[in-house]
Amino acid sequence: MNTRSNIIWGIIAFAFIVFLLSPIVLLVIFSFTSRSLTNFPIEGLSLRWWQEMVATRQFWPALANSLIIGVCVAVVSAVVGTLAAMGLAAMPKRRASIIMGLLTLPVMLPPLVLGVALLSFYVSIDLKLGLTTVILSHVLFAQPFVILIVHARMISFDPRVVESARDLGATPLQAFFTVTLPIIQPVVIGAALVAAALSIDDFIITFFTIGTGNTLPTLVWGMIRTGLTPAVNAIGTLILLLTIGSTIIALQLTRYRG
């Protein structure tokens, strides 16, 4: 009885996983098909669509934009988020959790609402749409994750370590750079990579705030509108690689406990 229900549950769970993963697996497989239709049977494997992707005129600017935005978002939200997390960790618990709630508000909003709101905001203050506005918008929703991750590290941070540094002659700044930062560095880098991953695969907010350019996700969207070719799968696979790659590294780093 018991084993039978175990088997049934096992099958259900397996089916679920297949359902969740198969689109991703198909995406990757179809990016290597030799035909021009994304359906089975796949007659042969080829890099034809990857070559097509590389040859697409808008591909390189979109990749460059995605990377520039991703790196800037990672750096800005890591710096600002770390400072915020340190400030929060030094506050009384109640006040910290209220402020944390406020800061994480952008994450709770539906991205569509956030995107429209940001667009009308930029237009109303006459800020030209472009990479800057995308970066600002991404920092807005990526930052709370950085704050949460770094804050979790900071509350277990031994304040006596910093006090020791001060006691041994370090100014507050020296203590930060020689003691605090080296100790929390893996977590900060991990948080920055999470921010980069969030930024690279965002479509909705980018779509509303970029104006005329493209990032990889908006490029994919544009290509789908004119017709579905396996080149889209190649770009999709590339985005997948970028975000999964940085997430895996981030997980490795944030799990580290000096």
Binding site: R160, V161, E163, S164, D167, L168, G169, T178
Partner: protein, 347 residues
Amino acid sequence: MTALLKLRGISKRYGDAVAVQPLDLDIFAHDFVAILGPSGCGKTTLLRMIGGFVAPTSGTVEIDGRDVTRIGPEQRPTNTVFQGYGLFPHMTVRQNVGYGLRLQKKPKAEIADRVAEALRQSRLTEFADRSVTALSGGQQQRVALARALILRPKVLLLDEPLAALDLKLRHAMQDELRRLHQEFGGTFVFVTHDQGEALSLANRIAVMNAGRIEQEGDAETIYTAPATRFVATFIGEANLLPGERKAGQVKLEAGPSFADAGADEPVTTVVRPKAVRLLRAEEKADIEISGSLTEVVYLGDHIKCVVAVSDKQDVVVHLDVAVAPRPVVGEHVRLGWSIQQQRVVSA
């Protein structure tokens, strides 16, 4: 001789709670001072105000003639061994010990020499290149000490330096601290709630209670001449006999009276168990009191007797193990002690 460290009217309040009441304290060069008191009495807060980690609500801290009240810990001629040590987990033992010298931008060779010397003195040479997270509690303690002492502070501050160690290690580290104090020749101020530790290490003791220093003096004076009832009970065992002083005469509730100058008020007479004697038949003493023996316990180095001298008053007596004949429970005994061996304090 003027004091190396002068606290004047120093106090700290957190909101409505007063952690340290305004107090004065002088600490002289080469002293080994214990700040002794029960948990929560404000010892750590006081030490942290000296080190520059807590800004006092009022008062000043002066070290070696300089007012340091408003400057940060990095500019004070003090170094601290924190409770829990606060070692740098991302550095080796050697890097921890050399941290202060590196900040001072000393030449590389000098740093290497001085660190090696400090490691040798603290018997840490064999662990020099280990991460501090891979050390035992006692070794971490030695790293914390070496790291602070290498900067040759005018005052070394220690917050419950031995509290985290087991009993055996604690005794070893007490010897180590005493040795370091002698070799180093500096001024040590340490916080403890352990009266035995205070007596065995410090030459001067400041006893704190509820944010106040109740008495400050050399260890012997604190023990033999406690200024308050709290000091008497906190350090060593003491018999407390309540009474009333009127016109220079103290009358104890338990019977005897004696002359003692002072204001008319309720008082407590303090007498150590060791100062009380069992009187033989014709023997006289300044203060005599009698009662029946309710307890006799052999404790190895002494015999502890409890004598009920009234319904609500017991007197504890420590007798030499060689006493003969050994008193027995139920026996009616006369106790006595001399006036010099008791202290009369406000109740």
